[in-house]
């Protein structure tokens, strides 16, 4: 069983894409940004249209209707699956097989938002996200779409230096690989997180090791051939 939420899609080119679906929390935050944007648009629009009397109100109602149902559709289709809120959190909507979202799918997932919202504040949507294995709300299930994290830019850093330390026990191949991965990811982890991860390695560390992460870096450096 996989511990993380990644899933793979095989493409015709014979490779498998690694995709990471977004959970309820970033999606809710993104949704809240979108709601605020829509409220702001509504407020500005109605205060301008108020000068036009009833005609203005009529136009205003049509625009609120469009904003309510088709605001996400527009952004999903024309802005690479990202509403402003999703863009802020580096999320995007796509088909399950990682191809761009189709117009029909976008309309389905946004019309069905109504049931996802029931009975209170995305109750059904939340339950559905917890049950499905790709965090899909009901609208996503019917449209076969999924909300993914967009990978951030990381550069390969080769110039990390650590004093090699001879490992106290002999390590299997997959254990060595795990350590090398840790070594390479170290620049992108905070010190606290690195220590936390390093503490899982048990026998590699002395009791009450003051700096578990840097000791592990030394061992990794030794595995990679530095003496």
């Amino acid at each position: 069983m996989a511990l993380d939420t990644l899933y793979h899609v095989n493409t015709p080119e014979g490779i498998s894409l690694r995709l990471s679906p977004a959970g309820p929390v970033p999606r809710m935050l993104a949704w809240m940004i979108d709601i605020l944007i829509r409220l702001a648009i509504n407020a500005v629009m109605f205060s301008v249209l108020a000068f036009m009397g009833n005609t203005g109100m009529g136009i205003g109602l049509i625009i609120t209707f469009l904003l309510e149902w088709f605001y996400p559709v527009y952004f999903e289709l024309y802005k690479n699956g990202q509403t402003p809120g999703k863009k802020a959190f580096n999320l995007y909507v796509t088909m399950e097989n990682a191809s761009p979202i189709t117009p029909a799918a976008s309309v389905i997932r946004n019309l069905l938002r109504f049931v996802d919202f029931l009975p209170l504040f995305y109750g059904f949507g939340f339950v559905s996200m917890m049950i499905s294995n790709r965090f899909q709300r009901l609208g996503d299930l019917v449209a076969s779409t999924v909300v993914l994290h967009k990978a951030l830019d990381h550069n390969v850093l080769d110039e990390i230096k650590a004093e090699p330390i001879t490992p106290p026990v002999s390590l299997k191949l997959n254990e060595q690989q795990a350590l090398i991965r840790f070594y390479q990811r170290r620049p992108y982890l905070t010190d606290e997180r690195a220590d936390e991860l390093a503490n899982f390695t048990g026998p590699l560390l002395d009791k009450n090791e003051p700096a578990p992460a840097s000791r592990l870096m030394g061992i990794s450096s030794w595995i990679m051939g530095n003496r």
């Binding site: 136009i59 990682a98 309309v107 019309l111 109504f114 049931v115 550069n155």
Partner: protein, 333 residues
């Protein structure tokens, strides 16, 4: 470890990856931004997308199998996903598709889905007619559907003595207001009828029956107290589109419910996806029909005019809608 081989690998292909990235960045700009002078991204050299994409797929596979640096693998994974999105995006003839859909696809689809459509029509019209007739014999029934103030509002809206001319009179500028109101309100109800299908059909069932009973009661009461021309003259025109759109969105909802309740030999998930594609097409039709209905209701139904003309036009509209669903799109199927 393959640190040296990895750096050779990166050096060798870095140029292509960068070029690919920049090319995609440029492609994602809108047409307007590409032309503007402030555009931060210059047009990169042309790129043979399928070829470059296949090469990068190859690099990704190599990097994976040679256990290169996970950060490098991650970067290639990202490039490959972007390429995949670009290469497999579909270009549709949006307007032509829409035209074809309404010139034949939509009525053909409604006939093809005659089972759910007739169930929805029955659920909507049976209570509608039943209560309309019942109120002629038991007029107090109206108060079990609406409360007193609602009934009074309804009566004053169509009271012939309050209007010297026929029809509902309004300032002309409020026509646009009512148009906006009908769009927001009526299409909102249609969307609820559709989405309610996801609750195993209970939502659609409820909204169909509820709207059937409520509208039927209003029709029955107006008929009973004798406001024939003000009321029927007003509703007959737009009713042709609006009532049909209402039960069709219920039918789209039932289509979703069908996938949940009796998915047949498919899994429920698969059945939902397949039926969803059909249901959303019905909803496209419903949206257009409701907009037409709102337009008629706001600008025609409210106009002041001899009532006979309204009845004649109303009858023509009903015949038009019926003919559209019965005859149009036969050749294609």
């Amino acid at each position: 470890m393959s640190a040296i081989r990895q750096s050779q690998f990166v050096n060798k292909h870095e140029a292509l990856w960068k070029h690919f990235d920049e090319w995609l960045d440029y492609q994602e700009l809108s047409r307007w931004k590409k032309r503007s002078k402030k555009n931060p991204i210059k047009a990169p050299d042309d790129l043979d997308l399928p070829h470059a994409y296949r090469q990068i797929c190859h690099h990704f596979a190599l990097a994976n199998s040679r256990l290169y640096n996970p950060i490098l693998v991650e970067r290639l994974n990202k490039l490959v996903i972007r390429g995949h999105q670009k290469l497999y995006s579909t270009r549709t003839h949006f307007w032509r598709d829409i035209l074809q859909f309404f010139a034949g696809g939509f009525p053909a689809l409604v006939r093809q889905e005659w089972k759910v459509v007739s169930i929805a029509a029955f659920l909507f019209y049976a209570p509608f007619i039943a209560i309309l007739v019942a109120i002629q014999f038991y007029p107090d029934l109206i108060y079990s559907v609406m409360d007193g103030s609602q009934v009074r509002d309804l009566e004053s809206m169509y009271d012939p003595e309050l209007h010297d001319k026929l029809g509902r009179e309004r300032e002309s500028d409020s026509d646009v207001y009512m148009f906006g109101f009908y769009i927001k309100h009526n299409i909102g109800i249609d969307f609820q009828l559709f989405a309610g299908g996801m609750l195993f059909g209970i939502g659609s069932l409820f909204f169909l029956l509820f709207n059937g009973i409520f509208l039927g009661a209003a029709f029955g009461h107006m008929t009973y107290i004798g406001y024939y021309d003000t009321f029927w003259g007003f509703v007959v025109g737009h009713g042709s589109f609006e009532l049909q759109a209402a039960f069709l969105s219920g039918a789209a909802g039932l289509k979703l419910a069908q996938a949940l309740i009796m998915p047949g030999r498919k899994s429920r998930g698969r059945a939902l996806v397949d039926n969803g594609k059909i249901a959303v097409k019905i909803m496209y039709g419903v949206i257009v029909m409701s907009v037409i209905a709102a337009f008629i209701e706001a600008f025609w139904s409210s106009s002041v005019m001899p009532v006979m003309i309204k009845y004649v036009v109303g009858a023509c509209l009903w015949a038009l809608v019926a003919a559209y669903f019965v005859f149009v799109g036969r050749k294609a199927t």
